[in-house]
């Protein structure tokens, strides 16, 4: 590409170009819920690299500044004229039809202002487009309705973008189905995901913490659920994470049954794991009795023994809708996909269901056979390692809506020994 002038490259690199650091901070009031600008100001003060975020915020400020001034000026003038020249006070109008000088002036000045706005906006845009050479490149794939991030070492992460602090990160974005758009408001970036085309964007992971990633191009029914998290972690943590396998859960469909609100099995002596989603269980003969609960008004789910990500896992999903318990037995048919057992030749093997939703807490209990003999349920070993996935959506009851919380554990179902994975 011939265009992006080297001049901007220099601008990015030459931190001393950083002007008016204090101004960047003011925008924070509206935009920067994550306190990013503090960091930027710090760096600007230190004279280190100017962040594109600062460039964009400066452009915002510049344009808003003029806009407010002009708006105030026009409004006040208008109101003043209306009052000052009202008929009762100024009964005899003057026939002024124009004033060439004035008209030229008010053509010229806005033109200049507009051009300067263009320039500063374009500058900041170049900042968003000029990727530092040492950037960590991550392939990003959008698909209805989640994001997959593929790292240079081949590791795939679903709906979670983990990056090391301090690095510039370049995202090469594409889509598998329709248009999506990856947006990280905290970093002022956004770029469409277009099938059969690779677009890019970049940001600098300045500050530890979690940031929202949202899909901003309308893409269908769960567009608003197509969320992900950007996690900026210390380098060591990142490297450790990079060696592990991730674990996601996704939408599904409902099966129904009318059920009581209290457990149908003994609930003493149950093991318990999980923080947001609590998973309690004990084994009774060949049955695994389970109680799931969480502060949610949406659905809850547990999955057993995935081969990889979600593939091959046996999922049980449940939700309480208007006092009714909805349950579904699913099987992970893809890395990010699962389908109802019955729709793919299996059986729904869920017994002893109960459930209730009280004070914003949903509780669901049921039993499943350790070995149902169903090809669409994975076998669960009582004494040995079992991988347990826990997930929920905090607002939505529809199983087609993506989860917005999940966790993963390694558990021995007989002894209760449990270890949380990443």
């Amino acid at each position: 590409m011939f265009w992006p002038p080297q001049a901007w490259q220099r601008y990015v690199e030459d931190g001393r170009n950083a002007r008016t650091p204090v101004r960047a901070a003011r925008c924070r009031f509206w935009m920067d819920t994550n306190g990013l600008s503090d960091k930027i100001i710090e760096r600007e003060k230190m004279g280190s690299i100017l962040d594109p975020v600062a460039g964009v915020d400066r452009a915002f400020l510049y344009i808003f500044g003029f806009a407010f001034a002009l708006l105030t000026f026009i409004t006040i003038l208008m109101i003043y004229f209306v009052i000052r020249f009202r008929a009762s006070r100024h009964p005899v109008p003057e026939d002024i039809r124009g004033n060439t000088l004035l008209e030229v002036v008010w053509m010229a000045i806005p033109t200049l202002i507009a051009l300067s706005m263009f320039y500063i906006g374009w500058q900041s845009y170049m900042g968003l487009r000029t990727v530092p050479e040492d950037a960590l490149t991550i392939d990003t794939t959008a698909q209805m309705f989640n994001w997959t991030f593929t790292y240079p070492n081949g590791k795939e992460s679903d709906s979670e973008l983990v990056v090391p602090e301090g690095r510039a990160v370049k995202l090469n974005i594409t889509s598998k189905d329709v248009l999506h758009s990856l947006s990280i408001p905290a970093h002022r970036i956004k770029m469409d995901a277009v099938p059969n085309m690779t677009t890019y964007t970049w940001f600098r992971a300045d500050r530890l913490g979690e940031y929202n990633i949202l899909c901003t191009e309308y893409c269908g029914v769960a567009h608003s659920q197509m969320l992900a998290k950007l996690k900026v972690v210390p380098e060591v943590e990142y490297l450790a994470w990079l060696d592990k396998t991730p674990e996601p859960v996704a939408p599904a469909k409902a099966a129904e049954s009318a059920v009581p609100t209290t457990p149908r099995f003994a609930t003493k002596e149950m093991f318990e794991i999980g923080d947001k989603v609590k998973f309690r269980w004990h084994i009774e003969d060949n049955l695994l009795n389970i109680i799931l609960s969480a502060e949610t008004q949406g659905w809850l789910a547990v999955g057993f023994n995935p081969q990889q990500t979600m593939k091959g896992a046996n999922f049980i999903l449940g939700a309480v809708v208007d006092g009714q318990v909805l349950m579904a037995d699913h099987f992970g048919t893809g890395y990010t996909k699962h389908e109802e057992d019955r729709s793919i030749g299996g059986e729904a093997d869920v017994l002893n269901v109960h459930g209730k939703e009280e004070n914003g807490v949903t509780e669901i209990g049921f039993s499943i056979p350790l070995d149902s003999g169903d090809a669409m349920d994975s076998k669960i070993t009582a004494d040995g390692e079992t991988i347990i996935l826990l997930a929920m959506n905090m607002t939505q009851d529809s199983f087609r809506v993506h989860h917005n919380y999940r966790a993963k554990f390694k558990v021995n179902l007989s002894t209760g020994a449990a270890q949380k994975l990443n």
Binding site: W3, A87, E94, I96, S181, N196, C215, S398
Partner: protein, 550 residues
């Protein structure tokens, strides 16, 4: 033109002989057609408003409030389609343009009266098809932009709505063609181009955009249908198509379309402001030229909707630059209106109040448009509620308020009766307050990053959405009162004089409501359309300075 006895147009069937309802349905009197547009448009507008309100209620709280996600998506799509294709694009030209353009230029009708009627029926059919989609099994859920590949793959009934938009496009083209020919060929003898009222000028500029830009979206929408039916693959990436080209084609029309919406409203305001200032408009020629400039350069900024679509950085730069250039003619207009007030003798009235609101709201909308026009900042706010706020300010606050202003300004001429002023003031104030409360929080939401077309949102966006919802309810009461007041005025209001405001353009020289051929006698043309000396004479005013020619 014989000196006939005066009989208002609605009592004189046109074509003759056909009385009653039929006299309306097959009429080719431009005034009757204008009234039919008004009635039909009100029905669609109510549908659009209802959908808007339902959207707002759903968003009042997080999670599911009154509908599921699929319904929500269908609702905002239909809300956008109805508001844009059925309300704001045809709005002022079809209703007030039809009614007043011929009168303003001293003609007895538009050039092609029958084609005019055809436009109306296309509009009606398009509208019915469009709204019908709402009751189909799966109303379209694509957003009013119908972006591919989603619009090609979704299972909802996209084709019917897209086809409706196509038909509405044809209606719009025919109206534009009709107006251009009318202005070229039917100006009353002696009326030169620069003696035309500004409203007529704004319609002239608009009509060109309608004729030249609408066909492009027409063919684009047809391609969507073809794609759905035959799977040609022109926009399907899997078959070699490029979805960005769809976006280019779509915005090649739809950006100019925003000027189709705003230019006539600007024309209305340019009529109202001088009348209530009792003095000529400031910079007549500059306003005319800026209309034409907006029409021309406005066609060259379409890709500012595509900064993050993956198009080339070079075109981001060029389109951003051009976007800022087209903002300047709008600035000229705003400054001219405000200067017109200077040293006027201002009487307050509902249309004037609405015009002031227009100037304010349009300026807010326009200035935030600059934030969007600038490439770097648009990346952050693109497809967020910031954009939603921007376009409601320009479309509703601008074009919509312009429409309401036109209603209040010309109502007495159309119906021969006046509405209640006090109620009108209350309604407008409610509308304004509700409007600000509704749309201001959206700017903040957008800056914080809340994406548009979101059925559900993160906790940090809660308060803004609640506030907006409350604003919407206040707005409802305002609008409701306004329409009720107008309706009541039309039926039982006081009889209005021929020239209740003191206007200078030709429509005020004919009886209210006008007779079927508009003029009782050959209209006389002023050498300067906003020459108020007659009005002053009538009002016993003297000016301090003799009219200067410009």
């Amino acid at each position: 033109m014989t000196t006939e006895t005066y009989k208002p147009f609605h009592q004189t069937p046109m074509p003759p002989k056909y009385d009653g309802v039929l006299g309306w349905l097959i009429t080719y009197d431009h005034k009757r057609i204008g009234m039919m547009y008004l009635t039909t448009l009100m029905v669609w507008l109510s549908a659009g408003i209802l959908l808007g309100l339902l959207i707002r209620v759903e968003l009042m709280a997080r999670g599911q409030t009154i509908m599921d996600a699929q319904t929500y998506n269908a609702f905002f799509t239909m809300h956008g389609v109805v508001m844009i294709f059925l309300f704001i694009i045809p709005g002022i030209p079809a209703v007030f343009g039809n009614f007043f353009l011929p009168i303003q230029i001293g003609a007895d009708d538009v050039f092609f009266p029958r084609i005019n009627l055809l436009s109306y029926y296309l509009y009606l059919i398009g509208g019915i098809l469009g709204v019908l989609a709402l009751f189909s099994k799966g109303p379209p859920d694509t957003g009013w932009t119908f972006y591919v590949p989603f619009s090609v793959t979704t299972r909802s009934d996209v084709s019917i709505t897209v086809f409706a938009a196509f038909i509405l496009g044809m209606s719009s083209i025919l109206t534009g063609l009709n107006f251009i020919t009318t202005i070229h060929r039917m100006r009353v003898k002696g009326m030169k181009w620069f003696q035309m009222p500004l409203f007529a000028w704004s319609l002239y500029a608009t009509s060109w955009v309608q004729v030249l830009a609408t066909p492009i979206v027409g063919i684009t929408l047809i391609l969507v249908i073809v794609e759905r039916l035959f799977g040609v693959g022109l926009f399907n990436p899997a078959k070699g198509g490029d979805p960005l080209l769809y976006q280019h084609l779509f915005w090649m029309y739809s950006h100019p379309a925003v000027y189709i919406m705003i230019l006539p409203a600007m024309g209305v305001v340019s009529e109202i402001i001088p009348v209530f200032s009792r003095k000529s408009i400031f910079g007549y020629k500059a306003i005319v030229l800026s209309s034409m400039c907006i029409a021309i350069f406005g066609s060259l900024v379409w890709a500012h909707h595509m900064y993050v679509s993956g198009m080339s950085d070079l075109s981001v730069m060029i389109f951003s630059l051009l976007t800022f250039i087209v903002a300047v003619p709008s600035a000229v207009k705003v400054f001219s209106w405000v200067s017109t007030l200077y040293k006027g003798s201002i009487t307050f009235s509902p249309p004037f109040y609405l015009s002031l609101c227009f100037i304010y709201l349009f300026t807010v909308g326009g200035l935030t448009g600059l934030v969007l026009g600038s490439a770097g900042t648009d990346v952050h706010v693109h497809d967020t509620y910031f954009v939603v706020a921007h376009f409601h300010f320009v479309m509703f606050g601008g074009a919509g308020f312009g429409f309401f202003a036109a209603m209040h300004y010309w109502w007495p001429k159309m119906f021969g009766r006046m509405y209640n002023f006090k109620r009108a003031y209350i309604a407008i104030t409610l509308l304004l307050v509700g409007f600000m409360l509704h749309y201001m929080p959206m700017f903040v939401l957008g800056l914080k990053g809340m994406p548009r077309r979101y059925y559900d949102y993160l906790p940090e966006f809660e308060s803004g959405n609640l506030l907006a919802g409350i604003g919407a309810v206040i707005m409802v009461s305002g609008l409701f009162l306004m329409f009720a007041n107008l309706l009541k005025g039309a039926i039982k209001g006081e009889k209005a004089a021929d020239d209740p405001w003191g206007g200078t353009t030709l429509e005020w020289s004919v009886p209210s409501p006008p007779p079927v051929h508009n003029f009782m006698a050959e209209p006389s043309v002023k050498s300067y359309p906003y020459d108020f000396s007659d009005v002053w004479k009538r009002m016993n005013l003297k000016t301090s300075t003799p009219p200067k020619s410009q």
